[in-house]
C-alpha cells in the first residue's frame, strides 16, 4: 500500500506532509500527558514487533502460492488505543522509508496518513463501536474484521485519490480505485481474521494485556469464522467479478501489493514469477487498445513533439552525463588506489 514518489506531484506531497506533520504533532502533544516513561520502551518495541510481524506469513486458502501477512495497525490501535497506535505505526512508516527505502521521501506524508493515521483511528473507532455494549464473541469477531476491512479500504482509497489530485495517473481513476479497493478487501479480511485470532491467543496466555479491549472470552469458533467468511465472500465475490469482467488490468495492482520489503533470506521469494505473470497479463491485454478514456487525463502530448525535435541535445545530455559519471568513478578509483598504496 506504500505510495510511491512517482505517483505524486510536489504540491500534493507537500500538502500531505503538512497534514501528516500537523496530525502527528498534535497527537504527540496530546499523548505526552498520558504517556508515562514506562510506555516509551513499550511503544518502540511494538513498532519493531509490527516489522517482525510482517515476516510471519501463512498460506491463503483461495490462492495457492500466495501468502498473507499482517500489517498490525488495527491490532495495535485496539490494544494500545488509537493515539499510541498511530504514533507507533507512523514511526514504522518513517523507518521503512528511511532505512528500507520503501516508498519515497516525498511520499512520506501520504504514507503516514494512509498507513498510520487513517487505519488507527478508523479501525479503533469501528472496533469500539461494534463491540460496545454487552460482550459476545461474535461481536468481537465482526468488530475486528470490520475494523480491518474498512480501515484498509479507507487507506486503499486514499492512494488513487492522492494520485489523481497530483494529476499523474496514467491509469483511469476508477480502474485504479476499484482495483485498490478490491485487492484490499481481501487483504483486510485476512488481516481482520488474524487480528481476532491474535487477540484470542493473547487472551488465552496474557489476559492482562487485553482486558480493556476484550472484556469477555473470545473463541475461535467455527461458526463465527464461517459466518464472517460467508458474509465477506459474498462481498468479495461481487467485487472480484466486477473487477475481472470490467477492468482486467486491475489484477496488476494486486501484484503491486505484494510486500515490497527487502527480502530477508528469501522468505518472500516469489517476486520473479509475480513479475513474469504481470508481464504475461500485460501482453494479453495490450491487444485491446482503449484510447477514449485517457486523452482527458493526460495533457502532455505537446511535449512529445518537443522531445522529438530535441533529439540531439537529449543525446548529448545523456552521453555527457554518462561520461561524467564514468569519469568520476575512474578518478575515485585511482585516488583510492593511491591511498591504499600509501597506507
Amino acid at each position: 500500500m506504500h505510495m510511491a514518489n512517482e505517483l505524486l506531484s510536489v504540491p500534493v506531497a507537500a500538502g500531505s506532509a503538512a497534514i501528516a506533520a500537523a496530525g502527528l504533532g498534535f497527537i504527540c502533544r496530546k499523548v505526552r500527558q498520558i504517556i508515562t516513561a514506562e510506555k516509551l520502551a513499550l511503544m518502540g518495541i511494538l513498532g519493531a514487533f509490527v516489522f517482525a510481524a510482517q515476516m510471519v506469513n501463512f498460506q491463503l486458502p483461495a490462492m495457492p502460492g500466495t501468502s498473507g501477512h499482517m500489517v498490525g495497525a488495527v491490532l495495535l490501535a485496539i490494544i494500545l488505543g488509537p493515539h499510541m497506535g498511530a504514533i507507533v505505526i507512523s514511526s514504522v512508516v518513517i523507518i521503512q522509508c528511511l532505512i528500507f527505502q520503501d516508498g519515497g521521501l516525498l511520499a512520506l506524508g501520504c504514507n503516514i496518513i494512509n498507513i498510520a493515521l487513517v487505519p488507527s483511528y478508523l479501525g479503533y473507532f469501528l472496533y469500539r463501536t461494534v463491540t460496545a455494549g454487552p460482550f459476545n464473541s461474535l461481536r468481537a469477531y465482526v468488530g475486528a474484521v470490520l475494523a480491518c476491512v474498512i480501515a484498509m479500504q479507507g487507506s486503499a482509497a486514499l492512494v488513487p485519490v492522492q494520485a489523481a489530485l497530483s494529476g499523474v495517473l496514467a491509469v483511469p481513476f476508477t480502474t485504479f480505485l476499484i482495483t485498490m479497493l478490491g485487492v484490499h478487501l481481501l487483504v483486510g479480511l485476512v488481516e481482520g481474521l488474524i487480528t481476532v485470532a491474535v487477540l484470542g491467543y493473547l487472551q488465552q496466555v496474557r489476559p492482562d494485556i487485553v482486558v480493556n479491549s476484550l472484556p469477555g472470552k473470545v473463541r475461535l469458533s467455527k461458526k463465527a469464522v464461517l459466518a464472517t467468511l460467508v458474509i465477506f465472500t459474498i462481498v468479495i465475490g461481487a467485487g472480484i467479478s466486477l473487477l475481472a469482467s470490467d477492468k482486467p488490468d486491475g489484477l496488476e495492482w494486486s501484484y503491486a501489493e505484494r510486500p515490497d520489503q527487502p527480502d530477508f533470506e528469501g522468505i518472500i521469494s516469489n517476486d520473479s514469477p509475480t513479475i513474469a505473470a504481470a508481464d504475461k497479463l500485460q501482453a494479453r491485454y495490450s491487444l485491446l487498445p482503449d484510447y477514449s478514456l485517457r486523452s482527458s487525463v493526460i495533457g502532455d502530448t505537446a511535449e512529445n513533439h518537443v522531445e522529438a525535435s530535441a533529439g540531439w541535445t537529449s543525446f548529448a545530455g545523456v552521453v555527457g552525463s554518462a561520461a561524467t559519471m564514468v569519469l568520476i568513478w575512474l578518478i575515485a578509483r585511482v585516488l583510492r588506489k593511491k591511498e591504499r598504496l600509501q597506507a
Partner: protein, 258 residues
C-alpha cells in the same frame, strides 16, 4: 542481529560521511522534489540529475553493486507501475535520440521516465542513508522539528527491528522444521496467530526489561542525549555545491534538453 548490511556503509568514514546530517537531509529532500516535478516525458534530463547522487556515492566509497542491488530489491512496485503505463497510453510518438529514431508510444516514454525518476531519487536516498549514521540522522531530524516522542520511537525502532526480525525468523524456522504439509486455512490462521501472539508477548516482556534497564540508569522521563551535530564550513560548502548543481541543471540544462 546481522541485518546490518542494510546500512553497513553508514559506519564508514569519508568526507561525505562527516557532513552534517541536517544539510544532507534537506538537500536530498529538495533534490527529490525537483526530480519528481520534472515533466513526464523527458528521460535525458534525468541522466543529468543522476550525476549528483552518483558523485556523492562514489566519493563516499559506497560500492555501486550494493547500490544497484538495493534499488532492484525495492523496485517491484514501481516496476509494475511503470510497466502499466504503456498499456494505457498508446498515442504513437517518434523519439529522436541522437542518431537513433524510435517509433514508440507516450506510454513507453512515461514508463522510462518513471523508472528514471525512481532510480535517481533512490540514488539520492541511498546516498543519504548509507553515508549518515542513523543516530545522526535522528538527531538532525529532531533539530529540524521532528517531535521528541517520535525521535525516541525511531531510536528504539531502529535498535530493535533487527532483534525482533531475527526472532521472527527463528520462530518461522521452528515452524518450518515441523510443518511438513499444508494445513487447512483455519489451522494455518491459528498457527500464524499463535506465532504473532507469542512474538507480541515476548516483545512486551522485552519492553519491561528495557524499562527496568532505563530506570536503573536514572531515567526519569526526560530524554537526554548528547548531540554532536554542528554545522561546519564544509557543510556550507556542500550546501552551496548542491544548490549550484541543482539550480544549474534546472535553469540552464533543463530548457535545452526539453
Amino acid at each position: 542481529m546481522h541485518h546490518a548490511h542494510i546500512d553497513k556503509f553508514a559506519y564508514q568514514d569519508s568526507p561525505v560521511h562527516r557532513l552534517d546530517s541536517r544539510v544532507k537531509f534537506i538537500v536530498v529532500l529538495v533534490f527529490t522534489a525537483l526530480v519528481i516535478s520534472l515533466p513526464r516525458t523527458s528521460v535525458s534530463i534525468l541522466a543529468c540529475y543522476a550525476v549528483g547522487p552518483f558523485a556523492i556515492l562514489v566519493l563516499a566509497g559506497i560500492p555501486l553493486r550494493f547500490v544497484f542491488k538495493h534499488i532492484l530489491l525495492v523496485s517491484p512496485f514501481v516496476l509494475i507501475l511503470a510497466l502499466s503505463c504503456p498499456l494505457y497510453d498508446k498515442t504513437p510518438v517518434s523519439v529522436a535520440f541522437g542518431p537513433f529514431l524510435w517509433n514508440t508510444s507516450v506510454g513507453w516514454m512515461r514508463c522510462f521516465t518513471i523508472l528514471g525518476k525512481f532510480t535517481v531519487t533512490m540514488l539520492a536516498l541511498i546516498a543519504l542513508i548509507s553515508t549518515t549514521r542513523f543516530n545522526d540522522l535522528l538527531t538532525g531530524l529532531q533539530r529540524l522539528g521532528l517531535p521528541r516522542l517520535l525521535v525516541i520511537q525511531l531510536g528504539f525502532l531502529y535498535r530493535y527491528i533487527f532483534v525482533l526480525i531475527d526472532r521472527a525468523h527463528r520462530i518461522l524456522r521452528a515452524r518450518a522444521g515441523r510443518r511438513l504439509r499444508r494445513l487447512k486455512f483455519r489451522a494455518e490462521l491459528q498457527i500464524a496467530a499463535s506465532m504473532l501472539g507469542s512474538l507480541f508477548i515476548r516483545s512486551i516482556d522485552a519492553a519491561e526489561h528495557i524499562n527496568i534497564a532505563m530506570q536503573a540508569r536514572g531515567f526519569d522521563g526526560n530524554w537526554r542525549t548528547l548531540s554532536k551535530l554542528q554545522i561546519r564550513r564544509c557543510d556550507l560548502f556542500f550546501l552551496l555545491a548542491a544548490v549550484v548543481f541543482m539550480l544549474g541543471i534546472y535553469f540552464f540544462v533543463k530548457p535545452i534538453l526539453l
